[in-house]
Every structure is written in C-alpha cells, then in structure tokens.
C-alpha cells in the first residue's frame, strides 16, 4: 500500500481500540447512498520506477531548446547550492511556522528575506511573499485603494507598457471589488509612457499610478518624473519591478522626490527556474507607515522568555485567520519554498553578483539586438534605453517564423503582434547572462536562413 505504513496487525489492534469492525465503519456518518464504490477513471498505480520512466520520457520529448523569451519569466543561472539546500527536508517538508520555537530556521530565513527585499527596493518593510508577480500587483492595487488617506477613488491608472497579463490578472482579481483600471497610452517612438501623455488624466481622482520598470517592452521609463507627477496628482505610486534590474537601476524607494509607495513584482529571476510558469513568488514592500495595510505574512524579531532574540510571525491581526472578513487579503499558503531559494540566491550573489548578472543580461540583449537587426527586414521598434528585453519589428508575420525557428531548436522570442497591433509584426526578445555570443550568432544565422527560405 503506497505510503501507508499499517500492517495487518496494526489495523486490527487499532480498530479494536476504536471499537470498530472495519475501516469502512469509520465512514458510517456519510449518507450511504452517497458513497461510491471505486474510482474507475483513475489509472492503476504505477511504481516509482514506472512513473520515473514515464516522466523522463515526457521531459525528453519536451527537450531543451535555446530560449530567447523573457516577458515576465527570465532564464538566469541558478547556483548549485540554491536548490540543494532549499530541498532539504527541513525546509521542504515544514509548514507555515506557527510554532515559532520549532521553526526558527524558516522564520529567520524569512526575516533575512524581508531585509533583502526591503534593501533591493529601497523600502522599509517587506512581506514573506505573494503568489506571483501578477497577483501581487492585484493585491497592491487593493492595498493602495484601502490605504489612500485622501481619496476614496477606486480607479487606478496603468500604462499600456505594463505586462498585459498583469493587467488581466489585476482586473480578474481586483475587479470584483469594483476597482477600475484605466489605461494610459505610450509613445510610439520610445515605447515608454510620456509625462505629457498623462495630461489628459490630470486632475482626475485616481488612487494610484502603476509604474513598471523596466516596462513590458524592456524599455526604461522616466520613473523619477512619473512618480513626482503622480504624487502631485494625489496618487499613490505602485512600482512593478524586476528584482535583477534593481542591482543597477534606482530603487523605487528613491524614485523622484519621495519614492514609490508600494513596490511589487515577480521574484522568479532570483533563483527560481522557469519551470513552465511556476511556482514562482511575488514580492511586496512598502513604507512602515502602510505596513498594517499590507497583505501576506510578516516575520518579526522579538525576545524569548530569557531575553534572547528570536523570530516569530507578527502583525497577524491583518490576516484572514484572525480578521476573517476584514482581513487585508485572503492569502494563507504563500510561496515559502521559493522565498527560501531566493534568499539563498541573493546571499550567494550579493550586490556585486546581482549587478554583474544584470549588466551581462543587458549587454547580451544589446548584442542580440545588434545581431538580429543586421538582418534585412528586422529592426528595433524603439529607441529608448532598455534593460534586458527588446521589441523587434519584422517585415512579415512573426508566428510562422517562430514556428520554423522552434523546429530547428531555437525559441526565438514572444510574438506580441496580437496584443499590440499598433506595433506591426512585433517580436519581444530577451537574452540573459546564460546566453553566449555563440548562442546569439546561432540564432541570427538561423533567422537569416529562415527568412531566406520563406
């Protein structure tokens, strides 16, 4: 019996103590006619050997093509210690540290994580994770509406340069509370928001402005000016940031005169593998002043009965298990294991390592753009400074080109033509530090070939 330790003798002895004749009897409170006989539709059990073989075959079938997609999930090198340690049973198989004295490992690690995220974003406090970057923005939006002192507005201004999926998720989640997201268009030449283009929204009542840096196109927004504009307009500023980029880019806490108010984003670049989209983790940091409006778990340092420092969950009065209908969020299980990995990752990288990863990724993408735009019919869509992503414009539909590339082992980027029809045949590409010049050349040669053939 897979994973069941009971011997026949155990079963008999236990039923005796219970005073039941069979395990079936333990279900006698279930109305009899509701009971089912068997789960015919579930396949028969496989041994670990068999499922191992099956999974290996499936994994092999998926293969390991050379990938140039980013678009919210980034392929960075993950140092070997990260997952060797994160998957230690003591981290992997523990739960939320409700019993602080028997969970100091997880608690201290989260405290260290909070410190790192606060440092990276230039904010004062961090929570212990959200589900992912997109849902973190939804939560940040709800938080902004809740936290705004001088406005009852449920409207939030978002740039069209924001990752479109993030907007969808924010709408799906926050929309239920009648939060309305209003889109502001971007400048065709720069692929960025322009302070001028916001003029139409001046004087309107918004709870917050969302700023993504770098934006979905990989371009760098003028976050200083935008933050200051929003604050003048009595909006809070929600920053959506790529954590790797923060090794080089100004921390949201220092954007403009007074910095962003809430910072969130996708933590995946910090040591989490691409893994088909998850599990990743969202992060959220804010000012101390807003901490009681922040969703998610928080760990604090305190003292034990003998005055020694130790760690415990705190500010639980914000959470669903205490506050129920009045909680800041319904989040309970979060993305703890990923936080563990990210904390180890950030520790191994340090500021210097992270800066090198960021700079190398930036350079690689630059090299990729240079190599690809040498090809006839391929040009860069925007002229802005960027981080490690870029939009290219092709002279023909993107999908068939990508399909052909994929068949030849290169995943050449993301077709964003449908989402941004105004950009024509638009391809979003990304190269991180994991890509060598050979990889870039291979892509360029293949693309040249594919275009030639077509």
């Amino acid at each position: 019996m897979a994973y069941i330790p009971h011997t026949d003798a155990d079963i008999r002895a236990m039923l005796d103590v219970i005073g039941a004749r069979s395990t079936e009897e333990l279900f006698d409170e279930i109305p009899a006619h509701l009971k089912i006989k068997a789960l015919e539709g579930v396949p028969a059990a496989l041994s670990e050997m068999q499922i191992t073989r099956l999974m290996n075959e499936r994994a092999c079938a998926d293969g390991r093509a050379l990938n140039f997609i980013g678009a919210g999930a980034y392929e960075h090198y993950i140092p070997a210690p990260v997952w060797a340690i994160a998957t230690r049973g003591e981290f992997y198989s523990a739960y939320t540290p409700y019993q602080a004295e028997a969970s100091q490992g997880t608690l201290q690690l989260i405290y260290e994580f909070q410190t790192m995220m606060a440092a990276l974003t230039g904010m004062e406090v961090s929570n212990a994770s959200m589900y992912d970057g997109a849902s973190a923005l939804a939560e940040a939006s709800l938080m902004a509406v809740r936290a705004h002192r001088n406005s009852q507005s449920k409207r939030i201004l978002v740039p069209r340069t924001l990752n479109p999926t993030y907007l969808k998720v924010a709408r799906a989640i926050a929309g239920n509370q009648n939060i309305v997201f209003v889109e502001a268009d971007f400048d065709r030449a720069t692929g960025c928001m322009m302070p001028q283009s916001l003029q139409t929204h001046e004087g309107q009542d918004f709870a917050a402005l969302v700023l993504q840096q770098p934006n979905f196109f990989g371009n760098l927004e003028d976050v200083r000016a935008l933050t200051d504009w929003a604050h003048r307009q009595n909006m809070l500023v929600i920053a959506v940031v790529n954590p790797t980029s923060l090794a080089l880019l100004e921390a949201p806490g220092r954007w403009g005169e007074s910095g962003a108010d809430i910072v969130c984003g996708e933590g995946q670049p910090l040591g989490v593998p691409l893994s088909s989209g998850g599990p990743y983790f969202g992060f959220m940091t804010t000012r101390m002043q807003l901490v009681r409006q922040m969703p998610g778990r928080v760990v604090g340092r305190t003292l034990d009965a003998e005055g020694r420092p130790g760690f415990t969950l705190t500010l639980q009065a914000r959470e669903q298990h205490i506050r129920r209908t009045k909680a800041t969020s319904n989040i309970c299980t979060n993305q703890g294991l990923l936080v563990t990995a990210a904390t180890i990752y950030m520790t191994l990288m340090g500021a210097e390592g992270l800066a090198r990863v960021a700079a190398a990724s930036l350079q690689r993408t630059q090299d990729l753009v240079t190599a690809l735009t040498r090809i006839k019919g391929v040009r860069a869509a925007f002229n802005s400074p960027r981080f490690h992503e870029a939009v290219l414009q092709l002279d023909r539909p993107v999908a068939p080109v990508l399909a052909e590339l994929a068949q030849r082992g290169v995943i050449g980027g993301l077709d964003i033509s449908a989402q941004f029809p105004e950009l024509g045949h638009a391809l979003l590409v990304c190269a991180t530090e994991t890509k060598s010049q050979d990889d870039i050349d291979a892509y360029a040669n293949l693309l040249r070939d594919v275009r030639g053939a077509a």
């Binding site: 897979a2 079963i11 333990l26 409170e29 279930i30 579930v42 670990e48 499936r58 998926d62 390991r64 093509a65 997609i69 999930a73 392929e75 210690p81 340690i85 230690r88 049973g89 003591e90 981290f91 198989s93 523990a94 409700y98 019993q99 004295e101 028997a102 490992g105 201290q108 440092a119 990276l120 589900y131 992912d132 998720v169 799906a172 760098l220 200083r224 921390a251 593998p273 088909s276 998850g278 305190t302 034990d304 205490i322 319904n330 989040i331 299980t333 979060n334 294991l337 990923l338 180890i344 520790t347 340090g350 500021a351 210097e352 390592g353 090198r356 990863v357 190398a360 400074p385 995943i411």
Partner: protein
C-alpha cells in the same frame, strides 16, 4: 527528547565588505553604461557578502532549526502534513521541466501538457466534477476562483442582486476573507452542538440575495456534515450555488464525491490531499473543479486535447472565463508533483488515503479520550482529524492549549493546530494523516499522558515550555508592538 541546534547569527552579521561567492560571478561587463545616469542606482543594495561555504553552512544550519515531516511527527490539523514523496520532487525537477519557458511553443511542451491534462482528468474523477482548472495557486485562490465563478454565473443570468455568501461559523478564515475579496457580503451561520450546520439558522439566512454557500466538508470541526443534502436543498431552493471547500478532501477520497452531492464548485489543496510539500509556507496549488453550469467561467488557461495534441485553452475558448489569476498558468511545478503522486497512488491507493487517515484519526481520538482528554464532539466519528478541548484542564490546572502545544515540542512532536476553529475553546485540532505508523501515534499519546500528569503535578513546567528548543517561548506581543521587521546595521 529532541533538542534542536543552537541559534545562528543573522546572515548580515556574517557579511564582510569585499567577500563573495566568486564561482558564482559572471564576468564584469560594462553593460550598465547603457543606463542613463538619471536612472542608475545611487548605492548598491545591502545584500549579504559572504563566501559560498558561509552561505551553505548558514542555511544548512538554519534548516536544522526546523521541525518538519522529514524529521518529526507533525499533526497540524487542517494542514494534512503527510509524507511528501521524494520522487515527486525529483521528477518535477527534471531539467527539461525546469528549463521550459511558460510561453514556449506547445510543440516543445507536449510532455508537460500531457501531465497537466491527465491531472485535470484525475481530479475530475475524484471529485465527480465536470471540468477542472489548475491555475489557482493555493487554496485561498481556488476559493476566490470559485466565488468569482458563482458571481459571474449569476451575473450571466442577469441576476445582479445575489452578492451574499453564506459561511458556517466554523469555516477557515480564508472563506470569509475570500468572499470579501470577491466583493461579496458574508453571512455567517452557526453550527449545532454536534458540529453540523444549524439548519434553522441556514433557512433564515437564505434569500434572493444569496449567491451561494461555502461549505467545508468534513468541516474544520473534524466531522462529516451529515445534513449535507438538506443544506444543498435549502441553498438550491433559494437560488444559491454550492461551493465545496475541499481542503479536507483527504478524508473522503474515493468514498464520496462533491460532484455527486450536487456541488457546483470545489477547490482542492493539492499541497494537502495530494502531498505536494508545504515548503515552510508554500507553494500550494488550489485547483478548482466545476459543474457543467460553471464550466464556461473557469479561470484560464486550461489544457485541451485535440487530435492527440495538447494545447492551452484561453480567452478565445472560454470567453466567459473569470480570467487569469496568475502571470502564466499557476504553480505548474506543484501540479507536476501532485500528478506524480496521484499516478503512484493509482485508483486503489486513493481510497486508502481516506481509510487510513480516518483509521489514524479515530485511533488517536480513542486513545486520547482514554487518556483523559475531552473530544470537542464526543458523539461523533473523527474524519481525518478531530478536536480536543482543554477547557476542563484550563479550569482545573490553569494551563492552556498553547502550554500543551509548547510542551509537545519538548517531546519531539510538532504541536497540533491551536485555537482553531475559533468557536471551540482551548482546542487542539489534531490530524495525524495516513502516512504515520501506529508506533508514532502511540508515542504521541505517551507524550500527551505525560503532559497531563505534569499539568497536575507541575503545571509551571507547561506554562514555561518549551525547554529543549534553541529558544524559550517567544514574546509575540512584543513582536507586534516593537516592530523589528528587517535587520539594520549596528549604528
């Protein structure tokens, strides 16, 4: 007795400027020169500066400060802390799965998609529902999806008045919090003395404003809701939909199916019933199963199979969908782990989960009752978990449920859930799970007997527990009053 290792300095206290894990450094390139000065970071973030050995040693030692399933019996009620098979992890972490970009072409993901598709199918089968979406990233997000679908359904019917969700008072905190997040009002209904929903109260609560009910079954009181068909009838008659909180699915796997009981939507906690790891707080996966009438509203994406090929179904396929709840498709790797686990259990193994979870729970309940502990619902069978209340001991010896919990740590057992559900005073919610051996349950009972004896003769020992952990009891009040949420360099 079990002693945890001593305390470990905060990583920042090990840092030295100029130190690093050099093998992890990629070459320095001048890439940052391309960033306009005005957007560049003023000063580097304060991250640790340690060697690779220091990092490995620090986090290895930190790990040893935890109790976990791999090291301790962990009967945390409502959390289903069962064995997390190592194979589930290693197979979900095959390099090809880890390396797959979520937006990569479907041609390069047929293996992965096949697993997701079959997982959807198996979950349909065990719940009796018509369709499944794997995108919710934890139980609470599954609840959110469920309530959002209920609202969307009513709205699609043109019924805009139904914005009230009925929640029995024993419900997990995520239920009312979710309803609020979905923009609904919450109406709580009480339970009767035996832990079933109070039918009269329910009748009084329903009406044209009722969007639906969120019912946990077995409830968080550790008992099966015997009046479930009555509950269904009342809510249905009032025009409401039925939400099944399936976090406790472990208790009924292969015995009874929410779909057969007429429910419209269920969320499952794959990190409970299907044994994906809890990871010190997560990740989980809160897959939702739906009835036919809710299927058009499922969160996207889901996996379709057409002509032997798998593909993502999204906006175009499900135009009425409540939308996307995550940046990609939810916690794919968690779903892979659940898939592997379910395939290893197979149809015959699924049923055993419920049977042995119930056997362990009822055995533990019987033995603790014999030892002098009071079940909260003495007339009832335990499901996969049960509640004891220390109200009497609290009165007699002035000890609390928390004291007992802390003292259990000294005996080498993780404590059960304390003070939940809120309506049972001084309670412990105990869930042994089916993967624990009789000897371990017996060891737990021995410890509980010792503790009861200690409550009589040396209650102070309980009140000041734990005694063998790296720390004594932590001051939670101080933690909340004097907030210290990040490490700061010594001034």
């Amino acid at each position: 007795m079990n002693e945890l290792k001593a305390r470990e300095p905060v990583i920042f206290d090990l840092s030295q400027p100029g130190r690093n894990a050099a093998a992890q450094m990629v070459a320095s390139v001048p890439g940052d020169a391309q960033i306009p000065q005005s957007l560049r970071r003023g000063s580097p973030p304060l991250l640790p500066q340690v060697s690779e050995l220091q990092a490995v040693r620090h986090f290895t030692r930190l790990s040893q400060l935890n109790f976990s399933i791999d090291t301790h019996f962990y009967p945390l009620g409502s959390c289903t802390m069962k064995y997390n098979p190592k194979a589930c992890n290693s197979l979900a972490m095959l390099p090809e799965f880890l390396g797959r970009h979520p937006l990569g072409p479907e041609t390069h993901g047929q293996g992965f998609l096949a697993c997701m598709y079959e997982l959807q199918d198996m979950l349909k089968e065990v719940t009796g529902m018509q369709a499944v979406s794997l995108t919710p990233m934890a139980g609470a997000q599954g609840e959110f999806a469920g309530v959002a679908m209920i609202r969307a359904y009513h709205r699609a019917q043109g019924d805009l008045a139904r914005n009230e969700i009925i929640v029995p008072e024993a419900a997990h905190g995520t239920n009312p919090a979710t309803a609020t997040m979905c923009g609904c009002k919450v109406r709580e209904v009480p339970c009767d003395a035996n832990g079933d929903v109070d039918i009269d109260a329910l009748k009084a609560a329903v009406g044209p404003q009722t969007a639906g009910i969120m019912l946990t079954n077995p409830s968080t009181l550790g008992v099966f809701e015997r009046k479930i068909l009555q509950v269904r009838q009342i809510v249905q008659d009032a025009g409401g939909l039925l939400y099944y909180d399936g976090a406790n699915l472990n208790a009924i796997l292969g015995k009874v199916r929410p779909g057969d009981m007429g429910f419209d939507v269920i969320h499952m906690n794959l990190h409970k019933t299907f044994s994906t790891p809890h990871g010190g707080g997560g990740p989980g996966s809160g897959a939702v199963g739906v009835s036919k009438r809710l299927a058009p509203f499922m969160p996207i994406p889901v996996v379709y199979k057409e002509g032997g090929r798998y593909r993502w179904a999204a906006e175009a396929d499900l135009p009425q969908s409540i939308g996307r709840l995550s940046g990609f498709m939810g916690n794919a790797g968690v779903n892979l782990r659940a898939y592997v686990y379910m395939r290893m259990l197979g149809r015959e193994g699924m049923v055993r989960v419920a049977e042995f979870a119930a056997l362990n729970a009822n055995y533990l309940l019987a033995r603790l009752r014999d030892a002098g502990y009071d079940p909260a619902y003495p007339e009832r069978r335990a499901s996969h978990e049960f509640i004891i209340t220390l109200k009497r001991q609290n009165r007699e010896y002035q000890i609390t449920a928390m004291d007992v919990a802390k003292r259990l740590l000294d005996h080498g057992f993780h404590a059960p859930t304390t003070y939940f559900p809120l309506l049972v005073p001084e309670c412990l919610l105990i869930e042994p799970t089916e993967t624990e051996a009789k000897e371990d349950l017996d060891g737990f009972v021995e410890a509980m007997i010792d503790i009861l004896r200690e409550a009589e003769h040396d209650p102070e020992k309980l009140r000041t527990a734990p005694h063998t952990m790296p720390l004594r009891r932590l001051d939670d009040v101080r933690a909340a009053r004097q907030l210290d949420l990040t490490w700061k360099p010594a001034a």
